[in-house]
């Protein structure tokens, strides 16, 4: 009598293999994740095997009154939202669409690089966006590095609250969260060939973060509370336009090479405030170098530029031109613009995470 095999119904767990041939061998590679909570966008990066996946979500929200009908539509359209009291909070890119429909501005949970004290609904929204770009931890205590800004030299606030709130959100999702300086992340991301020695500048939406490191060790870091949002606000004020219109122009078709000679008043204003911002940041770098003890270096210092504000065409030549005007107290080497300015910080965060995870393993 032929022996009949009894097959049990599969009770596979989420981390077990799919195919019969591969039964017993886990397909899940150890995953290291990185997070950059920016004023304009929240980015995540994760490495599984040889590939790295980047994900971003706009750090904005829009609230509407709750009704069962509206909630049903949002569910069917796969819109990310949260329900609090009698209000529906639409988050991410969809918030922009809804804001345009209602001809209103979106609300922003972060201001000047940190959690906005004026925005009472900021915390649940940030938590929801972080959850949407990261997902929950696959194993308890999964390591994640997240970028934090430096304390600003020109504003009266610190980053302690911001840093700890983000840490708490990540821990709630099951991660073991470790902070890393935003400017240092740029150095990890862009200055590997220079032995992680140089100056990393991240020009984001709310802040410009600067870090000077020698052999991957930060010598000093600081931030200024002026960046992309500041440019938008100033240009909107002098041209009598809305901030959202200026932001849209800046993000889509700004060319700083042409803006100087443009007859358009918005382009001209953008050019003026861009050059002013670069000059301001360089002046602060000069001040910090004069304040702090200078390490003796045998090579000129390279500078790496990243962030959404460094993305428009012509930014690099403009930076070089401003640098010639400001005499820095050290010899400047190569000036590099990150190949992917938006993802540069999160890339550096991920590098730090991978280096740390392998060291501990």
């Amino acid at each position: 009598m032929a022996k009949q095999k009894k097959y049990k119904k599969s009770t596979r767990g989420p981390n077990e293999s799919l195919g019969g041939r591969r039964e017993g061998r886990s397909l899940v590679a150890p995953v290291v994740k990185g997070l950059d909570v920016g004023t304009a966008f929240i980015y995540s990066a994760q490495k599984a095997g040889p590939e790295v996946a980047f994900k971003k979500e706009r750090n904005a929200f829009f609230d509407i009154e709750h009704s069962d009908f509206t909630e049903d539509i949002l569910k069917k359209s796969n819109v990310k939202y949260a329900l609090k009291g009698n209000r529906l909070y639409i988050v991410g890119e969809d918030a922009i669409k809804f804001a345009n429909v209602f001809s209103k501005n979106t609300r922003r949970p972060l201001r000047d690089g940190v959690i906005s004290p004026q925005e009472e609904d900021a915390l649940p929204v940030i938590e929801l966006i972080i959850k949407s770009v990261l997902g929950t931890s696959r194993s308890n205590g999964e390591l994640i590095y997240y970028a934090v800004p430096s304390s600003p030299v020109d504003a009266d606030f610190d980053i302690i609250y911001h840093q700890n709130i983000i840490k708490r959100f990540l821990e709630n999702l099951g991660y073991q969260a470790k902070p890393i300086n935003e400017g240092l992340s740029v150095i990890f991301s862009e200055l590997a060939k220079d032995n992680f020695t140089g100056i990393g500048i991240s020009l984001g939406g709310g802040m410009a973060n600067v870090c000077f490191a020698v052999m991957a060790l930060p010598v000093f870091s600081f931030s200024v509370a002026r960046a992309g949002d500041w440019i938008d606000e100033q240009v909107a004020r002098v041209t009598n336009e809305t901030v959202s219109k200026i932001t849209a122009i800046k993000e889509t078709n700004l060319n700083l090479n042409l803006a100087e000679y443009s007859t358009d008043k918005i382009d001209q204003a953008l050019y003026i405030y861009y050059s002013h911002l670069i000059g301001y940041v360089l002046e602060q770098i000069k001040n910090e170098f004069e304040k702090n003890p200078k390490p003796k270096l045998d090579k000129p210092l390279p500078i790496a530029l990243s962030g959404g504000t460094a993305k428009p065409k012509g930014f690099l030549p403009m930076f070089k031109a401003e640098l010639e005007k400001t005499k820095l107290p050290f010899e400047v080497g190569e000036i590099k613009l990150a190949s992917h300015p938006l993802f540069s910080v999160v890339k550096g965060v991920l590098i730090a995470g991978i280096a740390e995870s392998k060291k501990s393993s």
Partner: protein
């Protein structure tokens, strides 16, 4: 290998189909993103949806693996009609496995925000690994 193909591989490996949640757990991507990819694969007739969020491989999906040379092409026994098999072999030669995949990485347009193309993802992955190894040496000092 792009993510679309990875998802297709997962569906192919599970003979009776698989839920998007399980694929999401395996690949580490969000459920919404996997759902989006599965819908794209369904549009290309590579997979079939049995029920909501449950997908099985379609004949055309299997063909994709054959075309890439990942599984052997099964020639059906057709008795004396051997001509058709020969014709199939000739046809295979016309479409060599080195031909670019029909599944184009279209991450830039997705709502989920995967902005980099698959090829760039791989390149960055290697660079990141290299930089991390280099950084580890510095931190050890």
């Amino acid at each position: 290998m792009n993510t679309e193909f990875e998802v297709l591989k997962k569906i192919f490996q599970a003979r009776n189909g698989v839920s998007i949640k399980l694929i999401s757990n395996h690949l580490g991507f969000g459920v919404d993103y996997i759902r989006f990819i599965c819908k794209k694969l369904e549009e290309k007739n590579l997979v079939k949806s049995k029920e909501r969020d449950w997908y099985v491989i379609a004949p055309r999906g299997k063909g994709e693996f054959e075309r890439r040379g990942l599984i052997k092409k099964s020639l059906r026994k057709k008795g004396p009609k051997m001509k058709s098999s020969v014709w199939q072999v000739v046809k295979m030669k016309e479409t060599p496995s080195s031909q670019p995949s029909k599944i184009k990485p279209d991450f830039e347009k997705t709502k989920e925000g995967y902005n980099l193309l698959a090829a760039q993802k791989l390149k960055i992955g290697k660079k990141i690994e290299k930089a991390a190894a280099f950084l580890r040496n510095f931190r050890r000092v």
